[in-house]
Symmetry: D2
Subunit: 298 residues, 4 copies
């Protein structure tokens, strides 16, 4: 168990609530900043009215939302009625080895970290977190696919682009439901893994042929892989779900012209399974706090 | 291929459109009654403005909706602005061996058939159709489960009641997605099949213990299997999806009192995958028309 | 738990040892007849040297081997150096309601039962037992297939005939390993179930076409489904494993002529997984003894 | 297609025959050295009686067995009655860019390559080949497991050590057959992937507890992971299959003392599915020949 840690959670959504509860359950002290509209009262979780309620100088970790810092150091805060802006001065008050945790890095965040010189951890860029997160991402993709089509996933012709951490889980999800899933990747070892898992694969250069019979196409490659000259081969009324980080990999404007329903779908884990998504983060945060403890003691 | 058949589709929803298009594609003549709000124009499909536009005396088959006939011989008609009432006189004009097809039987339908003496086929009561239909039913159940919970199906504790035609497909669906699926059935051979498929099972008499750790419970048994004294053991905030035909197998009133989200979910195939659901029916209708043809010729 | 039962096991193989140990573990008294070569000593299991060591008049059940009685009332006995012949006189000494259990029925067994008038239970003919047994049967089929071919099951073209209790488990087994499994059955509802499980199916009348690309064919239909005019379409060097009860469903002589390796494979559960096969029987025997107890008391 | 290549295959087993036939089918010229006992005659494949029958100066590639070169430059040759020794002089006669291909590297091979200065390709060390090869490896492991145990894999407690390229395929194979498969790995991202695939995992430090209920343990980690103080916790009569490259990761001597059946199982792909294993190699060899061609022309 070790000594309790003091953690402040600045902004976020339902996932942060789950994180707060998990950290509390493990004996830590949790402060929430930017949660004025969150109406539950949980013993051990202190809702800070303003930054002066946070014991900055005693903190072990500061948790920013999955989206990190936005322009002008704005922080996403679903449960707040007011705009929430991170002040560098807050972080400067923390101990030297206080961990700053964020989902992803952003330029604003890098700038702040450069100034305050505290260790930064980008949770979602860890391999294990990205893989665990691929599970709610795949379920979210599935949910959207079922909502946007009039057919069953079973026996649907589903083309999956990318077989990285998220693409692999998506492909498996559709395949086990009985979809005719075909995977496109440029990496020979990803192709080999897909086949070992019983999935059909195709050569990326054959994409324009493969999509001709697609009911559904799911893209997880963060690059323009579905430009006009590929889209032209899709059947009208087919559906594209693009989960690659914005702006995605699809020429959405052209898709629309051609009568293809193409949807950019960011933030799936938080949308479809905030509790699970929160738990994934909570688990790794706990572990990091534990390791930090050990180092400090040593 | 054989000779073209003449078929009238009376009322229904998006599934009937799919059926009309499938029958047309196989060379049949199709008439629609009760589709005044359906705005597409397809060569070969005749939208009847009134019953006088239908060549009753030449018909090979009359197709009623999946729900059959309702009270006062009302027919469900999603694409109609007016009430649609089946007249016995229409059926009396059809040839003696004109097939009357409906999804399920209802008392009203039995009464009409008793009078008009035409062969009645209850499509959804055929074993093969019920099994094919279990696929969109299972996907619809999954869709609802994902919408109603804040967790992933993966690693969720999901209890499935009933392992008949639909229960079996539902259990498989949740299990392949990584749920801890536990199946309850009173039939030893269904239990054996569940285990052979790699699913966990439990003794029905242990239900009150099993539900204590349930995140999700799906019922497919058309009998009161979730009464108050079982519901009392569910965790608060758990979710029940009851797909058994109305009134389902749950004490919904008590569930509500206890803070369990219990939902009766009829009509899943038509809701989640009308195209697939329509194709399932179209396939068996085609086959029946073919067989009828052969008999008439013989 | 109930009162201990007294059971005699007459002949059999490694499965009977497993049964003996299971029954003993549940508090029953077990006698073995025809096990002179079985050299372990287990407290509570009495090895009868001759029939006079068996307390016939106090028995609750008599267990014959899976194969039942053979000609001249011979009993298979792997662990015996001598021939073992069942005497009607033994059974006549048992109480009226002593259960006679056998795997399958044979004419000889029916004759004996007709004379001695004791209740007969054919364990393997129960639906649940046949389904549980399909698991070791499928693994045994897989073992043979891997031994007899030079290719992986993954991506092999495997044709499976029959989708009954055993065929269903076999098809699933090969399919999950990544085989291109194609199922042939004459029953529409079995076809529907196969498709719902994500398997490919074909019309039985297309069998001669389907086998043209088969690496492997597994038959579970107890009827001549692979006669000369079908076999002629198999590729040379393909492999047939016929698990239907002897004489199987293959024209073995013609297969040999054509250079097809066709193998009749009876008794798979006992061969590949005697322990599991024994436990399956032990479980149902226990259950039957329990029910018999209750009846006697009532 | 491109120009035909000239390839000599020096020694090997049934896999080399498959490679020869595949290369021939793609229009290449193939020479075999060390195949005097191979009795088939295939037009286009030249069986060299001695090295003087091989057109060394015109070769595009030299293929050594999967095992590479052994001590004193011995080459494994299953189809030869004589010892086969690779002579450096042969290789020196080949063109500068003639590819030397081997399964794995060995010290002897490195020495030869250092002298002759030809490009060396270690086929099995490529990521994609190792993954494709994991398929026959996993099936071979399964075959051995079924042969060495008396239980079904279904519901067996199977512990899998290592979740690299081969471990991942093995774990999936046992899990889809219904085994209670538990995966142990020290890598957090491999653990995450195992869980995303629906497998149970455990912390490596809990190994001594986990094995206490193991029926079967499969090791794919090339390090001493099953020493005496872990083995002591295995149940007697449990089975260990160690597929890690010799000497494996098990203290075999101690295992024997304790009554655990522990088996070192090298060379599985060639043993269980030589045809598939050969095809995997043939495919990548073809591809490499094609690429080499392109380079030469450029
Ligand atoms: N919408 C959501 O809720 C959600 C959830 C999770 C992930 N995502 C997003 O989905 C994307 C994939 O995430 P991930 O975790 O799977 O990442 P990943 O493991 O890096 O996988 C991406 C795959 O795409 C490949 N790739 C990149 N550029 C390519 C190109 N130009 N052509 C062909 N292949 C290319 C990568 O290969 P290399 O490794 O060689 O680059 C890799 O194999 C990211 O943009 C991520 O932000 C979105
Ligand atoms: N919501 C939807 O969209 C949708 C879709 C499909 C089906 N359904 C409904 O779902 C239900 C199941 O359909 P199905 O096709 O799976 O039917 P099914 O094959 O007959 O399965 C129902 C199972 O429940 C068992 N059962 C019936 N009464 C029971 C009782 N009192 N206690 C324990 N077990 C009992 C049945 O056993 P016996 O065979 O011994 O009776 C059978 O095993 C039906 O009500 C059907 O109308 C709804
Ligand atoms: N070798 C072994 O170790 C082993 C292990 C288990 C079973 N078996 C044998 O395997 C066979 C199948 O066992 P099972 O438990 O799966 O039996 P099952 O459930 O009765 O399945 C057999 C299937 O074959 C169908 N069938 C029967 N005759 C047919 C015909 N002439 N044409 C087309 N289909 C036909 C049956 O249909 P209907 O129901 O309409 O007849 C049924 O669907 C039996 O012979 C059994 O003894 C052998
Ligand atoms: N018997 C056969 O027929 C056959 C067939 C295929 C493979 N093999 C053998 O099987 C083994 C695995 O092959 P592979 O292709 O799966 O290799 P791999 O992808 O490298 O996987 C091996 C895994 O073991 C881990 N590992 C290595 N040393 C470890 C240690 N001391 N403690 C804990 N984990 C450790 C590796 O981690 P790192 O990556 O961090 O080292 C890696 O995750 C090799 O020895 C290979 O030669 C045998």
């Amino acid at each position: 168990m070790g000594k309790a840690n003091k953690v402040v959670i600045i902004g976020g959504d339902a996932r942060q609530i789950e994180i707060a509860e998990s950290l509390l359950a493990e004996g830590n002290e949790v402060f929430l900043l930017g949660f004025d509209q969150w109406m539950r009262n949980v013993a051990g979780i202190s809702k800070a009215v303003s930054d002066t309620d946070v014991p900055w100088s005693e903190l072990d970790a500061v948790l920013l939302p999955v989206s990190g810092l936005k322009s002008d150091n704005k922080v996403e805060a679903c449960f707040s009625s007011k705009e929430l802006i991170l002040q560098e001065s807050w972080l400067k008050k923390t101990p030297q080895n206080c961990l700053i945790m964020s989902g992803i890095h952003t330029n604003e965040l890098e700038t702040v970290i450069h100034t305050v010189k505290r260790p930064l951890i980008k949770l979602l860029e860890r391999d294990d977190v990205a893989i665990y997160n691929s599970i709610p991402s795949a379920e979210g993709t599935l949910l959207m696919a079922m909502q946007e089509t009039e057919i069953t996933m079973h026996k649907s012709n589903t083309v999956i682009l990318g077989f990285g951490r998220t693409g692999q889980t998506i492909a498996r999800t559709f395949s086990v439901l009985g979809a005719y899933a075909k995977v496109g990747t440029i990496h020979p070892s990803e192709k080999a893994r897909a086949e070992a898992m019983g999935l059909e694969t195709f050569e990326f250069e054959d994409l324009s042929t493969v999509v001709q019979s697609a009911d559904l196409c799911i893209n997880s490659i963060p690059a323009m892989v579905l430009p006009e000259d590929i889209l032209i081969h899709f059947p009208v009324r087919s559906v594209i779900i693009d989960i690659a980080s914005p702006p995605g990999g699809t020429d959405f404007e052209y898709a629309k012209k051609r009568g293809i329903k193409a949807i950019l779908a960011p933030g799936l884990p938080g949308a479809v399974a905030p509790k699970t998504a929160g738990r994934i983060l909570a688990k790794v945060i706990s572990q990091l706090l534990g390791e930090n403890q050990v180092e400090k003691e040593a």
